[in-house]
């Protein structure tokens, strides 16, 4: 029982960052109908930003996370303008190919610049974990958890309470009508991709120091983000949040009770199972398959 609760605690911490990753991807798909294969690379990009700023440049750790988020936002906007804007009327498979190209370039670019050896990031947090009764949580993990929750909150606020968010939701509902009502679709798309990318970068910036930073981390992150989003239903933000926690939970339980080698398989098994049983995801209101 205690072991199980420890897994739950771990899953909550991991799930908070997964949710960030998933929200970013689902925003992009829901509003732009783009399956963003480069999402995991933006996650890795965030982690490398933290490594660059806090380790190589020796600046403040918290500052480096902020840099990662902003840089992710900028890089996202850039990708949108250069690669996606000219593809606006292409079908979903074509943009998918473009994003796969971007993924390959980014992943191998990271490998070229930073080398294949994984980097670790030191943080200002003490090594010794918090111990509450039989449970232990490292202070870094706690920080990651609360920072991720804060960012999820910010994303919710942005989407539900701001003018930009309102325009984004309108575009999600019906792009043509939104455009008729005077919403600048070009700007909304750029903002969407930038926000989605910065959320991915934030997830990488937070998780990078927990594990290690390596060029291949984006690979698996992309696929996990897909799992989260499919679990919650493509385009559903609440679904992505819950989906993130569910995937983390499944991974923790899978790794703890089945075999740690199959930890990463949980996501894919979930994808396959969900799509075969309920293709629209567990939490989506009747969303069309696109």
């Amino acid at each position: 029982m205690i072991e199980f609760l420890q897994h739950v605690i771990n899953a909550l911490i991991l799930g908070s960052t997964y949710a960030l990753l998933g929200i970013g991807l689902t925003l992009i798909f829901g509003i732009m109908r783009v399956v963003n294969f480069a999402h995991g690379e933006l996650y890795a990009f965030g982690a490398y930003c933290v490594y660059l700023v806090s380790v190589l440049m020796g600046l403040n750790f918290f500052f480096s996370i902020l840099v990662a988020i902003l840089a992710g936002c900028l890089l996202g906007a850039l990708i949108e303008v250069i690669l996606l804007r000219p593809m606006r009327n292409a079908d979903i498979d074509t943009t998918m190919l473009v994003m796969i190209g971007a993924m390959i370039v980014m992943q191998n670019g990271e490998q070229y610049i930073w080398g294949g050896v994984a980097k670790s990031v030191n943080t200002p947090f003490p090594e010794a974990p918090f111990v509450i009764g039989p449970f232990s949580v490292s202070s870094l993990s706690l920080f990651v958890f609360f920072a991720a929750l804060l960012l999820i909150g910010v994303a919710y606020f942005l989407i539900n309470r701001t003018k930009l968010g309102k325009a984004m939701r309108a575009t999600f509902q019906d792009r043509d009508t939104a455009s008729l009502m005077g919403i600048n679709i070009q700007r909304i798309y750029m903002a969407t991709f930038a926000i989605g990318s910065s959320l991915a970068a934030a997830a990488g910036a937070l998780l990078g120091p927990v594990y290690v930073v390596s060029p291949l981390m984006g690979n698996i992150a992309s696929l996990k983000a897909f799992a989260i989003v499919i679990l919650g239903g493509l385009g559903s933000i609440g679904g992505a949040t819950i989906g993130g926690f569910m995937l983390a939970f499944a991974e923790e339980i899978g790794a703890g009770y089945i075999s740690s080698g199959y930890r990463d398989a949980m996501g894919f098994l979930i994808i396959i199972a969900v799509l075969l049983v309920k293709p629209t995801g567990l939490f989506a209101r009747s969303e069309r398959i696109g």
């Binding site: 798909f29 399956v35 690669l83 000219p86 593809m87 979903i92 498979d93 074509t94 998918m96 190919l97 473009v98 796969i100 190209g101 971007a102 993924m103 390959i104 370039v105 992943q107 191998n108 670019g109 490998q111 070229y112 690979n219 696929l223 897909f226 799992a227 499919i230 493509l234 075999s259 080698g261 199959y262 990463d264 398989a265 996501g267 894919f268 098994l269 994808i271 396959i272 799509l275 075969l276 293709p279 398959i289 696109g290």
Partner: protein
Amino acid sequence: MTRLFPWVALAVFASIPLWLHDPYLLNAFITTGIFIIAAMSLNLLLGYTGQLSLGHVAFFGIGAYTSALTSLGFDVELIGGLRVVHEPWPVWTGLVLGTLVAGLCGYIVGKLSFRVRGAYFVIVTISFAEVVRLVALNWVELTQGPLALTSIPPMTLGLPGLGYFDFYSKQSYFYLVLAIVVISYVIIRRLVYSRVGRAMVALKENESLAVSVGIDVTRYLVLAAVVSAGIAGAAGSLYAHYLKIIDPDVFLFLYTITMVIMVITGGKGTLAGPIVGGLIFGFIPVVARSFAAPEVQWILYGLFMILIVFVLPQGIVPAVENLFTARSKAEFPASPKAKIQDAP
């Protein structure tokens, strides 16, 4: 003219071992040929049925592992203490079994995943490949995991009493690969120029209209998946017995991407496309390796992929055909002049 072209190309390729003795280049031709087979099989799904399957490497890897294990033998304990022992079989049975097992997996995956379309289909196929990769990595008793299956015997053909032939030299393996390329080409060509191929093109173009004239969509999608997976499995088997070592990295997403790049560069939905694209991307590493690290090569691949989609979305073969105007349209299976009798 256009009808002669495949024969001319075949003659040129068949002559290569006669004048090319550089083992490095011959090696490049062999591995390129293997990837061309895989790309041709992917093209059947991607180009003719219009389904972007991004888990194709799974069938390649399943073919490789099945074939290697058939010829090496194994001894594993399944859940419940059930012990399965397999003594090594002749190597050619590995090629056959690799093809069949991959085809069977294609059937299962097709049956399940064609219930969804578009982005969902893509993600299911990727997930399938990743699950298979993780199994290959973790089922150490069967696959040796990351330690790789080693000492895989070379391909042998023959029957008891009739004698055997070892494909040990690069020259002989080149001809073996070429033969499988030709067989795969003929199978795919006959399919796409037939009623089956028309059904596939129909459901790629307009699924509702296709079913309204009585075409059973799922049936033809699954058929395409089975044939495609089987051919990819044969390619995987050739790969395993050529390299004589196979590890879970054969399932990497990057290999699927390599096949996809070959198909879209050459021209999806054309017979010659995967061959042209395969030759280009098979030999880029040969040219680039002197001055570029592997990751730089990959960066070039990625940029090339984006460039092709932007500049030449139909691929090279259709673009060249358009240069020769509508006269040589016969390469398109959809063309009315398509004749089945000129299949080689």
